[in-house]
Symmetry: C2
Subunit: 418 residues, 2 copies
């Protein structure tokens, strides 16, 4: 046990130091002092190679800075709060394409003019996360009312009427559910309900509905998590139906663990560990070169996505969170050993000891394929969220008298709400 | 010279045999006997892994079968004509989303119901190519009137009013021109004008306009071909402005060579060889592993496209056509040697001696990354078009008394029209 404690302690220090380096990278290179918000198209050394502002990444960075400010003492620094506020104001001012309508752009010019709009809910989801965290750190009610109003709009699009998203209804397009939608909504339920009994109550039924919808993606007698299923939870035909995204399944896994922890359902918890953690890890881990594949076909056919075998930063970040949370919550050493395996690979392959932050895109063999540190889809989010959550979980584990817990231990990300 | 003739003869045989194998693959695996049209999602051995029908690829395969039937004696076989007709009827019946409006779907179900619509002109362009070739081989006027009516609609979208395409006008989105648009239109002008003086005359001004627009993509004092420029031909800011696609530049190169050949402008011809053939080849050829990069950044920064360094089948097919056409038309041995270099790499890396057709997607090092032979973007088109055109050009070269031509020699793809 002492050996195990030493290993956990070493990882806690490694993770904490890496978090400092990662945050320093974004603080140094990403702030737009003129217009507010963040540059996320950053080269290996932090150089801005494009000044477009992707709304997902603006919202995520606001959320991340507030989250760090609120939860880790050493990040309670004015520069994080000021940048988060400036990012929030930028979003308030520019994210919506045609106010008072709530639809947000996908990407904006540096000064906030819309460039592209996606016909999905995700820009709005990250907007909501940003506003809710800003309210938590500033106490300003206007941020929270923005968050709640946008949340209600998102729920309307998802559960009542998607027509406001602008997607055409075509006779050949089956009514499908992407796992991303209930997953993201489950994450928002957790975000808004933290230490807020009123909203936790308001969204409790929604949380259960989301969990139920995510669970529908376990298909083929429990042998596969499929990214897209029919509206009534059946497998779809063709590539779309067979599409698997191991990183997404693992992320859904820890969202579900967090949800289940509140519900206190050990049978469901075991199901989640089995289907959303171990299954995607076992099928998604490259036996030849290590690392998680980006996409797979449930029949073992070749996916059509060009990057299917590339190793991306975010599935590895999500896997670290999922396995450490699974271990923290139940004490199964198998889960801890998978955490170590993923974390060793991830730190070895993705870190950049020279300039900080992680590389995002490796080829199948683990060589850096793109040297960028940020881009249209990679910002200040998955890496620091992973490191901050792992640091908190490792601290909590080390603070216990014995490492194998006698009863489930609260997930640190919900600590305040227990 | 005798040595050179032997090498050309050997390539002619290699190319001709490969064309036979490639066509055999599609004849055996791709025909939908029930609904007409073609399966293009084919695994390494030809197995259908998805039955969706991508309209670009339906149109291209109809065009390809007709073109082979019409131009190469050994392909004048009923099975090609019947399959092309069935594909054409499938398109006539199903491609348009809401007839009589002309907008075509991007992808259809196997039985022809629309699944997705793109807000671009390309489905319609391949529809037009298919209909025009069908008319050429069958003589049925209804195919030609479809082709001409669709062509006029496309011209209206490009030169008069794009609103029918359904793209939103957003204040932050600059008015840009993608090189694909005038390129594609130039190709259609050539297609419709072949051996058709009336249409050649009708579209002559359009052809000049397209060439002029494509030439505007040569930027930075002639040092780069940029994929996107502003409406008035200036470089755009950011990644979009710096984006380069060597395969596209090479394809535009041979479209322009064909156009210039008709116009008989040797200065322009030299410019095209320099800027659209040699420049993209020199900057786009991977000095380390060989092969053409998919995308590059004009400042030498890392592109944000995950596949930027992958080697794709179609840029190599286009490069083979471009360099052999450039050589055929002017006799510069440099161009012939580049043709050999590209063709050697291409035959070595992309061919599949076991099952036929070429692999489409290699990693940077040249290893097969996706084993599929067809998919949403790869069908029966670039490979057989390249092989058929190269076979014809090699035959024409070998039929000359001396290999270095005293005067420009007609492009074989325009042979009948000269």
């Amino acid at each position: 046990m002492e050996k195990e404690r030493e290993t956990l302690q070493a990882w806690k220090e490694r993770v904490g130091q890496e978090l400092d380096r990662v945050v320093a990278f974004w603080l140094e290179h990403s702030h737009d002092q003129e217009h507010g918000g963040f540059f996320t198209c950053l080269g290996r050394d932090g150089q801005v190679y494009d000044d477009l502002k992707y709304v997902w990444l603006q919202g995520r960075q606001v959320w991340m800075y507030c989250h760090l400010y609120r939860r880790l003492e050493r990040f309670r620094r004015p520069e994080l709060l000021d940048a988060a506020r400036a990012g929030g104001e930028f979003l308030l001012h520019s994210a919506r394409v045609a106010p008072p309508a709530k639809k947000c752009a996908f990407v904006l010019t540096r000064d906030g003019r819309p460039v592209k709009v996606q016909r999905t809910i995700f820009s709005e989801c990250f907007y909501t996360m940003a506003m809710n965290e800003l309210w938590r750190v500033t106490g300003e009610a206007r941020y929270q009312s923005e968050a709640v109003e946008m949340m209600d709009q998102i729920i309307h699009w998802v559960r009542e009427d998607p027509s406001g998203l602008g997607r055409p209804q075509l006779p050949g397009a089956p009514a499908t559910e992407s796992m991303a939608v209930p997953m993201m909504l489950l994450n928002l339920v957790d975000q808004l309900g933290e230490e807020d009994e009123e909203l936790a109550g308001k969204y409790a039924e929604l949380g259960d509905w989301c969990a139920q919808r995510v669970l529908q993606h376990v298909q083929r007698d429990g042998q596969a998590v499929l990214e897209h299923v029919s509206e009534d939870g059946e497998e779809l035909s063709g590539c779309l139906g067979r599409h698997q995204n191991p990183g997404h399944a693992l992320e859904a896994g820890w969202f579900l663990l967090r949800h289940t922890h509140r519900r206190g359902d050990p049978v469901l918890r075991a199901h989640i560990i089995d289907k959303f953690l171990l299954l995607p890890f076992r099928s998604g881990w490259d036996p030849e070169h290590g690392g998680l594949f980006s996409f797979q076909d449930a029949d073992g056919l070749c996916p059509t996505q060009l990057e299917w075998a590339m190793k991306l930063w975010w599935p590895h970040s999500e896997a670290m969170i999922a396995f450490l949370m699974g271990y923290s919550d139940g004490g199964d050493p198998t889960l801890l050993h998978v955490f170590y395996q993923v974390a060793e690979y991830t730190f070895r392959q993705f870190r950049d000891p020279e300039y900080g932050e992680w590389f995002g895109y490796l080829n199948r063999e683990g060589k850096v394929a793109l040297t960028i540190k940020g881009g249209p889809f990679k910002g200040c989010f998955h890496v620091p969220r992973c490191l901050a959550m792992c640091e908190e979980m490792l601290s909590a584990l080390l603070s216990r008298p014995a490492l194998a817990p006698a009863r489930p231990v609260p997930d640190p990300a919900r600590r305040g709400a227990e």
